[in-house]
């Protein structure tokens, strides 16, 4: 027990240090958007876009959220980050945004554009029901550069963002 006690203390200290004890963040529910409206948004954009399709119940979406947060922090001036919530409830979506996108200054949730598909499905214009998460990379004017299905890793996200910027 004597040997384990310092280890237990260290674990408790680590848990206490890492636990999020900050105040709850108020966020707005994502703006409803149809597939056609999304298509117009892409076509009229003068900046490159990263479109991430996600849902609050999707575990891989949660895992890639910190990466998207980091990307927004670094590239929000040059790239629009559009987050499309699908197959979800408004409370689930706002809870997810409050939990995963509040830690930057200004909050990443303000730099991201949050939408929810009104029908609750992934718009056909974004590949239809291929499952979440999906991340689309568009050039200005909605030119599709690449699609990543499934959870995205840092290397792929960084490479595709660089591809958008150097084209």
């Amino acid at each position: 027990m004597r040997r384990i006690a310092p280890l237990l203390l260290a674990v408790v200290a680590l848990v206490a240090a890492c636990s999020n004890t900050g105040p709850a963040v108020d966020v707005d529910a994502p703006t409803p958007i149809s597939g056609e409206e999304m298509e117009t948004l892409l076509a009229t954009s003068t900046q490159p876009l990263v479109v991430n399709v996600w849902a609050s119940w999707c575990i891989p979406c949660r895992s890639e959220a910190p990466l998207l947060n980091a990307a927004v922090e670094g590239f929000a001036d040059e790239i629009r980050f559009v987050m499309l919530n699908v197959q979800d409830s408004p409370s689930g979506a706002t809870g997810f945004i409050a939990e995963f996108y509040p830690d930057t200054s200004p909050p990443a949730s303000d730099l991201m554009e949050h939408y929810a598909n009104a029908s609750g499905d992934i718009p056909v214009q974004l590949g239809g029901n291929r499952g979440v998460p999906m991340t689309f990379f568009y050039g200005p004017g909605g030119e599709l550069v690449s699609i990543h299905f499934g959870v995205i890793d840092e290397r792929t996200l960084a490479l595709q963002i660089d591809e958008l910027l150097v084209r």
């Binding site: 636990s19 949660r62 910190p66 980091a70 550069v145 890793d153 960084a158 150097v166």
Partner: protein, 236 residues
């Protein structure tokens, strides 16, 4: 299930196993009572697990709140957390003969890293920053050519692994020096390829510099110790 990642890991494991097999035929593990392969496998598994936990915590996703996320290795593993945990586990398991075991695994560890980086081809993850060099490659659907940075790393790791294995086989290096040089090489290769590797926040450069310093200092220490061995205690 991420099959391309598994295939990449299998290539890395095979490269490490092949090096151990080649070295084993030349008496690499004769000084070791423990199994190099088993010990390395345990260290790698612990390293991946701890590296994933550290990465989650760094990103603000607490493993005890979201335990299901731990299996999503694709979402990221902390290089620093994984390395420290793997090295710590290796030395703990082989604590009876740490220097001999570390020397025994040194070339195989570099070969494993070569396999890991070279296996980027199976998951389409070889490219780095933009380059106009003749061998630069464009990703599918793009005209922008890039450094095949993971191939550079794989070649450098392979050269280091083969060089170290040959030295161990024919040069009789002092105990502790091969492991020290392997650490120096691994950290150095990661450091020099880091600037051309795509990243959102930059890699842990200071960690690689620390690895180089520790590797260099320990190599000098073991080399000096081999030249001035401490006298055997005299029995009455």
């Amino acid at each position: 299930m991420e099959f391309t990642l598994l295939a990449n890991a299998a290539i890395a494991a095979f490269a490490g196993w092949a090096m151990l097999w080649w070295e084993g035929r030349r008496g690499n593990a004769d000084r070791c009572a423990g199994s190099l392969w088993d010990t390395a496998l345990i260290a790698v598994i612990v390293g991946i697990f701890v590296g994933r936990l550290v990465e989650m915590m760094i990103n603000g996703v607490m493993p005890w709140l979201h335990p299901g996320d731990i299996v999503l290795v694709r979402a990221g593993i902390s290089t620093m957390g994984a390395t420290l945990a793997a090295v710590g586990t290796f030395f703990w398991v082989s604590r009876r003969e740490p220097v001999a075991m570390a020397d025994g695994i040194s070339a195989a560890a570099l070969a494993t890293l070569s396999g890991w980086h070279g296996g980027c081809a199976v998951r389409g993850a070889c490219l780095g920053t933009v380059s106009d060099l003749p061998w630069a490659i464009a990703q599918e659907g793009s005209a922008v050519t890039r450094h095949p940075v993971e191939i550079y790393a794989a070649m450098l790791f392979a050269a280091a692994a083969v060089g170290l294995a040959l030295w161990k086989a024919y040069g009789r290096p002092p105990a502790g020096v091969p492991a020290s040089l392997a650490l120096l090489a691994a950290a150095g290769i990661r450091l020099i390829t880091e600037p051309i590797r795509p990243s959102l926040g930059g890699g842990p450069v200071w960690f690689y510099v620390l690895g180089i310093v520790v590797g260099a200092v320990s190599a000098v220490f073991f080399w000096l110790r081999s030249r001035n061995p401490s006298p055997e205690p005299q029995t009455p």
